[in-house]
């Protein structure tokens, strides 16, 4: 009987609103560098050899990412800019000691997070991982977990509206409204292209937390885009 129940519970079909029960560990190791790692390595070599242009190119490549993350940690744009400036000083000073065990991005972002934390981090950051609760309102499902108010079909990929600046604007503003931790994870993963393990290293969070934060942030973005991109 117990066996039956067990079989039933693991083989039953999933409802549309099914909740996570289990998780397995990463298959991808940290430090594989991700996109652009080759260019970074080349610029670092040139920088070590005394090429100032290489430094400016590195700044160009990463300044936006650093500033975005810094803004999430500290209260004002001015302080964020200082933190970023400090980070570059730390990068220059540390460059000869950077062994490439992690990617350059990860290494640099960890410097930034340390500087930001020592500068004074926003109080609201102490909020726990989840604003708990479902990512989709329960009223959109019936008692069996099936959709009652299903997601509206989105316009085609080729539609101009998909590429419109208003879509990017909407994403930017929703990112700003997300809790800081969710925003940081979504930005680092989806805008800056870090891997999950890299984000865990940079922000000092567990794999599970990283996934929950990513899930909440992305779900919130999808919801906001439903209004922009729905066909109706």
């Amino acid at each position: 009987m117990i066996l039956h129940q067990h079989l039933f519970s693991t083989l039953a079909p999933l409802g549309c609103n099914a909740v996570a029960l289990a998780a397995v560990r990463w298959r991808r190791a940290p430090g594989d560098g991700g996109p652009g790692a080759g260019e970074d390595a080349e610029l670092l070599d040139r920088l070590r050899a005394g090429d100032e242009d290489a430094f400016l190119l590195l700044v160009d490549r990463h300044q936006a990412m650093l500033l975005r993350l810094a803004c999430s940690f500290v209260a004002s744009r001015a302080v964020a800019e200082e933190v970023v400036q400090d980070t570059w000083v730390g990068v220059l000073r540390g460059i000869d000691g950077f062994a490439g065990r992690s990617s350059f991005k990860t290494w640099m972002l960890r410097i930034l997070v340390n500087r930001a934390r020592s500068t004074g981090v926003l109080e609201s950051r102490t909020v726990a991982v989840g604003d708990a609760g479902p990512v989709i309102d329960r009223s959109r499902f019936d008692a069996s977990g099936a959709w009652m108010s299903p997601p509206e079909h989105w316009i085609e990929d080729s539609d101009d509206r998909m590429l419109a600046e208003s879509v990017s604007e909407r994403i930017r503003s929703v990112l700003q409204e997300l809790p800081a931790r969710q925003r940081e994870v979504v930005m680092l993963r989806d805008v800056d292209g870090l891997s999950g393990p890299e984000v865990c290293l940079v922000l000092d969070i567990s794999e599970g937390n990283q996934r929950v934060l990513l899930h909440r942030g992305r779900s919130r973005l999808r919801e906001a885009l439903e209004a922009e991109l729905g066909v109706a």
Binding site: E52, A64, V135
Partner: protein, 73 residues
């Protein structure tokens, strides 16, 4: 499904759950739309990029570099 979608996209699902997830998606039009929307959301977010350095910032960073060179010897 809506609460599992990130675990699925992250490859963080035990194989058996993954199979059930995929079986569900295959038979559920709405959830398959939802999954497509999550993928598209990720792509659209990835389009956000910005800001070239302004000339003033370029000069600041030039100075930063010079200081470092002097310090490094």
């Amino acid at each position: 499904m809506v609460e599992l979608v990130t675990d699925y996209l992250e490859g963080a699902m035990p194989r058996r759950l993954r199979r059930r997830f995929e079986a569900h998606i295959a038979g559920c039009e709405h959830c398959s739309e939802y999954l497509a929307q999550m993928r598209l959301t990720i792509r659209l977010t990835g389009r956000l990029q910005s800001s070239d350095l302004t000339p003033a910032m370029r000069a600041d960073f030039g100075a930063l570099y010079e200081r470092w060179r002097a310090e490094r010897g």
